[in-house]
Amino acid sequence: MTVYLSQSFTGISIGAVLLLIALGLSLTFGQMGVINMAHGEFIMAGAYTVYMLQGPISDAGVSLLLALPVAFLVAGAMGALLEWLLIRRLYARPLDTLLVTWGVSLMLQQLARDVFGAPNVHTSSPDWLSGRLTLIGGEDPLTLAYSRLFILGLAVAAVAALTLTLRRTPLGRRMRAVVQHRDLAEASGIATGRVDRLTFFLGSGLAGLAGVALTLVGPIGPTMGTNIIIDAFLVIVVGGIGRLRGAVVAAFALGVLQAVMEYSTTVSVARVTVLIAIVAFLQWRPQGIHTLRTRSLA
């Protein structure tokens, strides 16, 4: 029985990684409708930030915690720059945006290859994240890895911070206003261009945070972003485009389904099951878990 409990937790921690990646997309893709193919490279930028910081700061714990704000700023700045240079000129042309950001994605990957070298690099995890927390001891123990708990905590904190920002701050209010009715917002004196850039900054910054979390579970390499970005798009589509709550539910549901199926069958079968479940679900609810009745946020 504890096997299913521990697999559920594994699923939740997979979901937490998915959620962190999807959160940024829920802003740029969900709210602004921009399909940013370079989002994965902002994740990569966040991961390489940890690697860079571990050079001068030998303590793995300090560099990891310091990397959280630094990666947010680095990835956020890259996102804002991309928005300012290219995307803002292409808002009415989603097809062009897709191709242009795909090109940017390839360029950033090659840049990473030139700067950091083609081979993957790895970072060391802090001591306090190695090992496991024992919930149930004895014959059939239930234990949770600290690194997974950390990622889960980070995801929860990021969701909470994003919800608060959208609901309680002037910036969040302006962002919602622009999404709901751009012309009216502009007529009310909101600098919509600036709000777009800030939204993009936040969304890309969250990708940077996801990159920091990913260094705890996998390698850091030029193509790490492209490998996981598809899953994040799935989460957004299942959750309902533009719905934060939907993304949370979808990420955890997909994670748990994958983990439980994988335990009793194989990776491929679990993957197929998840994809079939998504297709079936979208037949039933094409708009995703949370229907977009209005254009309100969160």
Binding site: S6, I14, S130, T223
Partner: protein
């Protein structure tokens, strides 16, 4: 709502466009191919003062990490032979082509090297997929490929010399070691989902049936997969004596991290890997691999004067921090073997070189290797190594003498029906 719909339609249109562009690009690559010229001996260009050879490695794309190191080793061997007077009095002129981690590109470039440049031989390829892609080109043009990487066996082309290990020089000795030295009675198989791990695991399963080893689990992860929490849990729950790991590339990082997170260690459940060499250890992190086992024919630490001078020469040429690994050694050796075959034959022509191949030996960094003319594989010594906390791999067991290559496992009764 209509806005959202419109976006979905446009997204779909974008996807269709992208697919169309890709398939057009693929067609473009095909139209360059000449019609098959039939099986004949390649025209080796012997007009100049030099003799040209082709180096065909992925210098870009996902395989570049590994294949660039092979190219470096090939160039080193060519420079050394040239400094020593060349082959049949001619300097070797390497022509390097980029296979770009793309199998049709490999076929196209090999055709270019053979037909336009008139190279005497081509050195390179890494993945079995790229080898399978160029094989018909070499057979139709009657040219020669030297392939330097361990592979899944069950192949024997007259136009390829295989200088890496076949299965009876790597996987089977590794199983013998686990059974005899580590008293392993149950195994868990973890691999990437493509031809090499699947074929290797079929061989392992047949071996296990014969020798009374229980296979308690078998899992494949997609190439590049980084989510291994569940597989690690299954491995832990299985209570196997050891894990046989045929994962490739990045997946190893995540697998070994999750494996360590479950509390398993090299003492409680050792992992024997066949795709982790010195180069990969650095990428995964030695602390996650300390104490684990690998199976190859060569390690940077292999003892012998030939290896000392190889490592010295390589690091003098490319930098002190560059490790040497098994495929690099096999590539380096392949150039010397070709040169020795040419000297023996007194000719650069492919048929003469092949006829002279049997019994050619070279004092390679891994020890003396001998060409088996029948299979065009090498007699190679099998070695099991243990990865140290510093990332170096040290030998813990060796077959003692070179093993006769048996790509179709014909001398193993239990392997009947595998090929």
């Amino acid at each position: 709502m209509p806005r959202i719909r419109g976006q979905r339609h446009r997204l779909f249109a974008a996807a269709v466009t992208a697919l169309t562009v890709m398939s057009l690009a693929a067609c473009g690559a095909r139209t360059g191919e000449e019609p098959a010229s039939g099986s004949q001996a390649a025209e080796v260009d012997t007009s100049g003062d030099t003799i040209k050879v082709g180096l065909l490695n992925s210098l870009s794309g996902t395989m570049a990490i590994s294949e660039v190191t092979v190219r470096d080793a090939l160039l080193l061997a060519i420079e050394e032979i040239n400094a020593d007077g060349g082959v049949l009095g001619r300097q070797i002129e390497p022509i390097s082509e980029d296979g770009a981690s793309d199998w049709p590109t490999f076929a196209e470039k090999s055709e270019k090297l053979i037909q336009q440049d008139g190279v005497a031989a081509v050195f390179g390829c890494w993945t079995s997929a790229s080898r399978k892609a160029v094989l018909p080109v070499f057979e139709q043009n009657g040219s020669l490929l030297f392939y330097p990487v361990q592979y899944e066996g069950l192949e024997q082309s007259p136009n390829i010399f295989y200088t890496g290990a076949t299965t009876n020089q790597q996987i089977i000795p590794a199983l013998d070691y686990l059974r005899e030295e580590e008293d392993v009675e149950s195994l868990y198989l973890v691999g990437s989902d493509y031809v090499f791990p699947r074929t290797a695991n079929r061989i392992i399963t047949a071996y296990a049936e014969e020798h009374g080893i229980e296979i308690v689990g078998e899992d494949y992860a997609p190439l590049g997969s980084t989510e291994f929490a569940t597989i690690a849990t299954k491995v832990e729950d299985s209570g196997a004596d050891a894990v046989f790991n045929t994962l490739n590339g990045d997946s190893n990082v995540s697998f070994f991290r999750e494996y360590a997170a479950t509390g398993l260690t090299a003492e409680t459940m050792p992992v024997l890997s066949v795709s982790i060499a010195e180069e990969e250890v650095a990428g995964i992190g030695a602390e996650y691999l300390a104490g684990q086992l690998t199976a190859w024919n060569y390690y940077q630490t292999t003892e012998g004067a030939a290896n000392e001078s190889f490592v010295q020469a390589f690091q003098d040429r490319y930098g002190e921090d560059r490790p040497t690994s098994d495929p690099m050694e096999a590539a380096y050796t392949s150039v010397y073997l070709w040169a020795a075959m040419v000297e023996e034959a007194g000719s650069f022509e492919v048929e003469d070189v092949r006829a002279a191949a049997d019994g050619i030996t070279f004092d390679a960094p891994e020890g003396t290797v001998t060409v088996d003319g029948d299979t065009q594989h090498l007699f190679k010594t099998s070695r099991i190594g243990r990865i140290g906390a510093d990332g170096a791999i040290t030998e813990v067991w060796s077959s003692g003498e070179p093993i006769r290559p048996d790509p179709y496992l014909e001398t193993y009764p239990w392997a009947e029906g595998l090929s």
